[in-house]
Symmetry: C2
Subunit: 363 residues, 2 copies
């Protein structure tokens, strides 16, 4: 087996021991809370990791885009929730094909979108299970809780659709400055979606699934009552943002980038061969400087070009040309999306590859 030291740089590594531990730990957490785990596969986009999650007990996969579901369906995965407000007859026709292969549900948050999907399914004599997205405070997509009952009623009346539940995403947890703020975002997320589900039920509609999730908020969110499912994604790999948020420790981080110092033109500047094409330009969350953490060093990657990571060398540290560094990325999901395959390692040796089969699926 190849040693990490012999890999070409930059390479994206996944420590398989840590990955497997993370998969088990989240499954145990969901099981203890009595909720299903339907992990968001956007973090890995990989059949190998998805199989690990399902083997551990995950109930299915969450994805965002129709094309991602097509890739996973072609690989034999058979239970997918698209947690995204899919719009349009063209997408609906693809969903109709998918619905023959997989147990499928799709997110909606508005009547126009719902009708665009329902029209195609109704014409085919089919019904597409849909879940209504609730905005629990992230203010991205989703209906405000006070509009949920009325919107649910109107969506449930759309021919070709089957009202199947509610879901939310407490993305505002990523803005939490302390572990307490992050946890409180999760509690709020759980309460809002559960209360909204109750209100919709009180109006006479069935709400089978009450779903929420994000890696930082899931722990507190699933401690609220009335939740049936959670959908965290990043926990499989974790990243520097999760460490900053307090939702992972350094030893829980499975994904790192190995890079080589290619230039050290000044005492206060060294340059490695991992730039934004490797690490992405995504910022550290909730806030902070730098483009990933260089393990074992205080110096930071101060700026990125596409192929250059420019390190601001701290006093007392130095980097020599040819030296290899390991970098913990700011945001694991986007790093996955930049690469066709990651390198699975265990104990310093290469054990296999993780195929990013659904990389680049944006449609």
């Amino acid at each position: 087996m190849q040693a990490i030291e012999d890999l070409p740089t930059p390479s994206v590594l996944v420590d398989l021991d840590v990955l497997e531990k993370n998969v088990r730990a989240m499954q145990d957490r969901a099981r203890s809370a009595g909720v299903k785990l339907r992990p968001h596969a956007k973090t890995h986009k990989s059949p190998e990791v998805a199989r690990l999650q399902l083997s551990a007990g995950a109930s299915g996969l969450t994805l965002a885009k129709t094309s991602e579901a097509e890739v996973f369906a072609a690989l034999g995965f058979d239970d997918v929730f698209l947690g995204y407000p899919v719009f349009g007859a063209d997408k609906a026709r693809r969903l109709l094909v998918l619905a023959d292969k997989v147990r499928l549900a799709v997110g909606v948050d508005n009547l126009e979108g719902a009708r665009s999907l329902g029209g195609v399914f109704h014409a085919a004599g089919r019904r597409l299970p849909v879940r209504l997205k609730i905005d629990c405070g992230y203010h991205r997509v989703g209906v405000p809780p006070e509009m949920a009952v009325e919107t649910a009623r109107r969506i449930a009346d759309v021919p070709g659709l089957e009202f199947a539940g509610v879901f939310t995403h407490g993305g505002q947890g990523y803005a939490g400055r302390t572990p307490e703020e992050v946890a409180e975002a999760g509690h709020h997320e759980g309460r809002v979606v559960a209360e909204t589900a109750d209100a919709i039920r009180a109006a006479g509609l069935p709400v089978d699934e009450v779903s929420l999730g994000s890696t930082p908020t899931v722990r507190s969110a699933i401690s609220e009552s009335g939740i049936t499912e959670c959908r965290p994604g990043t926990y499989v790999y974790n990243d520097f943002s999760q460490v900053q948020l307090g939702s992972a420790k350094l030893e829980d981080c499975a994904m790192t980038v190995v890079a080589t110092i290619v230039s050290a033109p000044a005492a206060d500047r060294a340059v490695c061969d991992a730039g934004s094409k490797t690490l992405s330009s995504d910022p550290l969350r909730p806030a902070g400087a730098g483009h990933g953490r260089i393990l074992g060093r205080d110096s930071r990657i101060a700026r990125l070009s596409e192929e250059h990571g420019v390190i601001g060398v701290e006093p007392g540290e130095s980097f020599r040309v040819g030296e290899r560094v390991r970098i913990l990325p700011n945001h694991a999901c986007i790093v996955s999306n930049l690469h066709d395959r990651l390198v699975g390692v265990r104990g310093g040796r290469v054990e296999g590859q993780i195929t990013v089969a659904a990389r680049g699926c944006v449609q």
Copy 2:
């Protein structure tokens, strides 16, 4: 032929008329200045666009990473300069294979890197042409001008290498707040690299190529005397950053993204299906807010998730679910790197595809 309106969204479009005009215009500019144009292919990573450039008169291609050169060599391109300080015997062995297929030159900016390449070529009884990178003020890689003669001497003495010239990149032009500042960065870039070349020649070394470039600075840089080659990249597509910098007009921008509004949950918020996986998180340069410009609108994409572009809707504007928008990205090169293929369009109709053959080549 398919209409743009029938494409699935999000899709990345390239207006072929604009692309072809941009290719001709830059070639004309280089020809008028009496310098060769060796465009940086990182912007497109595409054989179709590279062939356009070479047909128009480009002298060869610039690339950064060894793996990019391998892709282009396999596609039949035969003249490549890697404008990057390549390090290591593993890369050198790949360059040795490449050197049998293409006319190859490689950047160096330090003795350790130079020796790591020279060792492999010398052992094979070959010589690799190298060009010394000069730091003209961008402070990324490259030797300061005052160290150039000594470094050039030492690199020229490395067995297995052939000293072939100097190159620089006035990336600081991207920080220019006015067209005058950008132009002055280019003049400075040209003067520094030409004077450095003269100093190296005065020390008895041949300097065949004196190369520089970046889309914003190239116009003024090649007006300086003593320049033999320029290497702009972004000019083929242009982007919102180039418009901000004054180096392109809106009508010079060939690349746009077509996206669909999938949710409009509040009067001041609409969400389209192009997120950071489509547009990248790269900021606007030299500065400014937003993640690309929505053509024909004042509203901006205020924040991105991986699959969501969250538009802050300006008073007086509105977006309805299902509506399509066209977005001019902040940074074209990174958008190319996120997609396997772009859609070539002419006059509102789809004419073909642009293959991003060297997408993701970071090693």
